[in-house]
């Protein structure tokens, strides 16, 4: 099959993070390999641009945990990429905002855990909320477009109106209200994070109304709670079609959660192979490209080029086989498993169980200062 051309690279430059959000999609376990160096990332960025990539998102972990971030932003701008920083804001002071702006940073996406300090800090497992408010103001003052991201789950979903108000008061240009998706730490903490049906119904009404009210002022993106949907999300617009991720240790992934969710697929590393070869030729990128791999009911489904069979990682996590139809699909033979999870959440009168906070990979070493 002829590989299409990728548009966006997600550069997960480190798994280190000062926050401990239980909804994090990072893997719960990582190897002890070394993070890519500045030079290695610079090469990856150039190879990505040559492949056709137009956008880069610097993410993690917390990308600000790497002091060489401005160098990487500069390398991306030199390669003509549009540069987004996806950050908790922790570590961003006036000097670093200026440094990033001068390096050519195009846009900042700042995460918030809630609108309320105590709840936000409880979710993050760190005192960060007040600092984030300052960071939002600094980003605005530097003239960099600001998006806010709220991951929504059982403990904060009822505060959606207040979160939208916060976005308005911070003059964000764009807000992502993203229902938690269950990968990594979030999958581990699913019972604590999954909202009830009543919560989900109300949140959708609030988001829809806010979207209409703020049209032309703030773009609101509402990411659906897919367990409650009848059809799966069009994950990544199809495997190996538009997006690629390079993780902190150099693995190239069709999807950021693939390396932990689909352990039986071998993912190539930029330390061993050129990015172009990995995108076009590797087994991991070709395994679920197009529609030929699809089983029934996807194979004969009129939706197959609309939702692409849903999410491969979710199929792997919930059915043990990444090649199955995403089990949130009502046509999947495995939908009953998802319904059982929803039944548990919606029939229990107990409060949600406690979650496990994300911890940092202890063994992961950074080589960025070594020359």
């Amino acid at each position: 099959m002829i590989a299409p051309r990728p548009y966006a690279l997600l550069a997960e430059i480190t798994y280190r993070c000062p926050l401990h959000c239980p909804y994090c999609s990072n893997p719960t376990q990582t190897g002890n390999d070394q993070e890519l160096t500045t030079d290695e990332w610079t090469r990856v960025i150039r190879e990505a641009a040559a492949l056709g990539v137009l956008q880069i998102g610097f993410s993690g972990g917390e990308p600000l945990a790497r002091r060489d971030l401005p160098d990487l932003v500069r390398a991306a701008r030199e390669a003509n990429l549009y540069t987004n920083l996806i950050t908790s804001g922790v570590g961003l002071d006036d000097e670093r905002v200026r440094g990033l702006r001068d390096a050519g940073l195009d846009s900042v996406q700042l995460s918030f855990q809630s609108d309320k300090t105590d709840l936000a800090d409880e979710i993050a497992g760190a005192r960060a909320h007040q600092h984030k408010l300052d960071v939002a103001a600094k980003v605005r003052a530097a003239g960099i477009p600001l998006s806010l991201n709220f991951v929504i789950h059982r403990r904060n979903i009822d505060r959606l109106p207040e979160m939208i108000e916060l976005a308005e008061s911070l003059q964000a240009e764009r807000v992502e209200l993203a229902n938690v998706q269950f990968y990594g730490w979030a999958f581990l903490n699913r019972a604590a994070l999954l909202p009830t049906r009543d919560q989900v119904v109300r949140a959708r009404e609030i988001a829809t109304a806010a979207k209409a009210r703020l049209a032309g002022k703030i773009d609101i993106f509402y990411v659906l709670p897919d367990y409650y949907e009848a059809r799966p999300k069009p994950c990544l617009n199809g495997w190996g079609q538009r997006y690629l991720t390079v993780n902190p240790i150099g693995e190239v992934l069709p999807c950021p959660t693939a390396s932990s969710a689909i352990p039986d697929l071998r993912f190539e590393n930029v330390r061993e192979r050129a990015l172009d070869w990995i995108w076009r030729e590797s087994e991991s990128f070709n395994r679920f490209r197009g529609t030929e791999w699809m089983p029934e009911p996807c194979q004969s489904c009129p939706q197959r080029e609309i939702d692409f069979g849903g999410c491969r990682c979710q199929a792997a996590l919930l059915t043990g086989n990444a090649a199955n139809t995403d089990p949130v699909c009502e046509l999947s033979p495995n939908r009953a498993g998802v319904d059982a999870v929803l039944h548990d959440v919606n029939s229990s009168t107990d409060r949600a169980p406690d979650w496990t906070y994300r911890v940092n990979p202890k063994t992961l070493r950074s080589l960025e200062h070594v020359t």
Binding site: A8, Y82, S107
Partner: protein, 94 residues
């Protein structure tokens, strides 16, 4: 189709954080913005590349001269394209 509501005296410019750039893979113009890429067709490219302080009326006249057609023929197209880009927050009208 929405009725054109853009005044001829309005000055369209790229919104903050939006970049107009040539896509080296295709040679076409693209607008880059947070988490998005919009490939411009030839007309949209001609319009957007002239959003440099000129008014809508001036853009219509310049293009009419270049295409050697009656400005009336372009009027609706230009306003519709600009209206669409404005709704997507890719251009602002000053």
């Amino acid at each position: 189709m929405q009725a054109p509501t853009i005044a001829g005296s309005a000055q369209p410019k790229l919104a903050r954080g939006v970049r107009l750039q040539t896509d080296s893979k295709t040679g076409n113009s693209v607008l880059l913005f947070p988490e998005g890429v919009l490939e411009l067709n030839e007309t949209a490219q001609d319009i957007v590349s002239r959003c440099d302080g000129r008014t809508v009326g001036e853009i219509i006249h310049t293009l009419a001269e270049e295409y050697d057609i009656d400005p009336q023929m372009l009027d609706a197209d230009v306003r519709e394209t600009l209206g669409d880009l404005q709704r997507r927050k890719l251009i602002e009208l000053v």
